[in-house]
Amino acid sequence: MDFGLSQEQVLLQDSVRRFLADQVPLDRVRRFAEDGDDADIHEGLTGLGITGLLVPEAAGGVGLSALETALVAEALGYYAAPAPFLGTAVAAPLALARAGGHDDLLAAIAAGQARVGLALGEAVGARADAGVRAEAGRLYGKCLFVTDHPADHYLLADRERRLYLLPADLAGLGSRHLTTIDRTRPTGELELDGVAAEPISDDPALLSAVLDISRVMLAADTLGAAQSMLDQAVAYAHERKQFNRPIGSFQAVKHMCAEMAAEIEPCRAMVWYAAHALDHLPDEAHLTACHTKAHLAEVGKFVARTATEVHGGMGFTDLLGLHYWFKRIGYNRQMLGAPELLRHEAARAQSLTA
């Protein structure tokens, strides 16, 4: 019985943290927010093996599990680090390895030479402007809020929950950038005007597996971002003085920090468990993934707001950059299923409602 991280897992996370602490300080994040260039970060993470974590060893990857990937996601969240991750290093490796026959692309992903955008809007619930339908081997419509944009390939779901892999240069496939509040996560939309494509697999469970792992990674990212905001709040409360005292000695401020810690701490174990379940507890994986993302979204929202409040006016300005984490947590909350939708899905997964 060991519900904890192995030595190797701790080392892996430490190496990513060290890299990010060195190479992706707040100034680097700000620069990305301006120019959208994350090539050096992508390269650095590739060097650490991150892009290949979920790529099978046979295809040139490291062949590790969802838990390691979650630890990386947590570190990325902690540093609000821009990098092709959710589509490129999580969803695509899982989907392509399971579907089979994509070893070249898998190798390119592991080698840091390919980016894959995740385009699952349809599967989570299509909004008024969106919708992807397949007709006679061709795809029509729009998918909004695609991750890892611009990418070399896109992993796309249609209305029937079938998954497609679309090279970016396919005829009829247009894409453009969509500005969001989170300037650390480049996002786009796809327009499909009769794009010729076949599903990558006829396994109906594949999309569900891709959604589950992606949601757990968004939750892990929120865990890291929330922990960072708490750490920043505690540090600021030590430093900042009002009424001749560090504000951290006021009971109200202390209690705000204690409440954040009390909410965050169980989330750590929950994210570990949810990631572990993806590979080892198939009966629990889906339910746990829904709940973990929903719960982390609620805790993240509370922490984002409370940590900002501890920082007083400074938290509201751009000066400390705290808002990058605030918005990252907001992004994680809404992407691939906002909490109410996930809780509804959790209820359905237990046959509590239709």
Partner: protein, 395 residues
């Protein structure tokens, strides 16, 4: 209890409506602070008593006796007609009443009229990076040298600093006095050498505020309101004049209605968001809270008109109102899901992206103008008479 306004005020309301019908389309829409259109409209409003209504004529106002219901009716009718109520800003809302109360006759004549007419634009210099909740610990210094104050230091949270002609500010003139007794209230021109204004970008992405830096800024000695060391009292003399605008329930109701529209209009997989019962329950909770705050506002208004005690009711408006608004904007973001992330030039922006921006902006308001923590201290001590925190041992 009588929620009608009665014949006198209904007549007044008709008069306002007639004015708006006749002149409403002369009002500038979205024109700049300094535009001739804005200034002309302001002059017309003052002339008819719809701006500067209760400011004495000799200082450039309309000279009417204060009447809360008349003011309310004007506000209601202008809002209903969506016509600008003229210029706002801290010069008109804060400096003018300060001068009326604490200024010299000369200061009143020099500043009030041009300020009311929009010819002089002011910014406020109170907060400092090191003096937020504990404002009285401010350190920007003014040292008297011959016929000038020499000002050094920094202010923050200064809105419209780039546009302002003048600033009214608090500076420390008596460094050895107890902290509340060492402050003076100065007026200074923003084009004085040594002043640097830097926009302060905030989490919404806009620069709603600025930082202002002072390096050996020379201010004539007479540009002081009240005596040396009286600045704290001067500043506090007008605290009551600030409108409780931070939690304005009418604005909140307008947003609630917009949110209801959004939830009727937007869909997931073709089903209107309003049909999602968990969202609808959150919406209804908010509607209940909005109702409560509107009733509270009515009570405050009535207490102003008729007398009656609404101290606590007034004291909680900022705390509850900003919180409510933040929650309301947050529900809109949530129901939109990914669309709630859209920002800036995103073509899928709903309602001009106001939901996401206001969600953050109202977090700023929860913090600004007395954080929620400070509000709770005030409510418990002044509202409920609870003991102050004991004095802390030094060192």
């Amino acid at each position: 209890m009588d929620l009608s306004y009665g014949p006198h005020y209904e007549a007044f309301r008709r008069q306002v409506r007639e004015f708006l019908e006749r002149h409403g389309d002369e009002a500038p829409r979205g024109a700049g602070l300094r535009s001739e259109a804005a200034l002309a409209w302001q002059r017309q409003l003052i002339e008819h008593g719809y701006a500067a209504r209760t400011i004495p004529r000799e200082y450039g106002g309309y000279g009417a006796a204060p009447d809360i219901l008349e003011s309310r009716i004007i506000a209601e009718e202008f809002a209903r007609a969506q016509v600008s109520q003229g210029l706002g800003g801290q010069g008109i809302s804060m400096l003018v009443p300060t001068l009326l109360e604490m200024g010299t006759e000369e200061q009143k004549r020099e500043f009030i009229g041009p300020t009311l007419r929009g010819e002089l634009v002011w910014c406020q210099g109170y907060s400092e990076p090191g003096a937020g909740s504990d404002l009285a610990s401010l350190t920007t210094s003014a040292v008297a040298e011959k016929d000038h104050w020499v000002v050094n230091g920094q202010k923050i949270w200064t809105s419209t600093a780039q546009l302002a002609d003048w600033m009214f500010c608090l500076v420390r003139t008596e460094p050895d006095a107890p902290k509340h007794q060492g402050i003076s209230f100065l007026l200074l021109r923003m084009d004085t050498p040594g002043i640097e204004v830097r926009p302060l970008v905030d989490m919404t992405g806009a620069a709603n505020f600025n930082e202002v830096f002072f390096t050996d800024v020379r201010v004539p000695l007479h540009q002081i309101v009240g005596e040396r060391g009286q600045g704290w009292q001067v500043a506090n003399a007008i605290l009551g004049h600030e409108r409780d605008s931070l939690g304005n329930p009418d604005a909140t109701l307008a947003r609630l209605n917009a949110l209801m529209d959004l939830m009727r209009r937007e869909t997931i997989d073709g089903v209107p968001l309003m049909e999602h019962a968990a969202y609808r329950d959150r919406l209804m909770k908010l509607q209940g809270r909005v109702m409560a705050m509107r009733c509270n506002d009515l009570r405050i208004l009535s207490a102003r008109v008729n007398g009656g005690n609404a101290t606590l009711a007034r004291m909680i408006v900022k705390l509850q109102g900003t919180e409510l608004r933040h929650d309301l904007e947050g529900l809109a973001v949530d129901v939109m899901g990914e669309l709630g992330l859209a920002y800036g030039d995103n073509p899928y922006l709903r309602d001009n992206g106001t939901w996401q921006t206001q969600y953050m902006y109202f977090l700023g308001l929860i913090i600004g103008g007395g954080t929620s923590q400070i509000q709770k201290n005030i409510i418990s001590e002044r509202g409920l008479g609870m003991p102050r925190e004991p004095k802390v041992q030094r060192g």
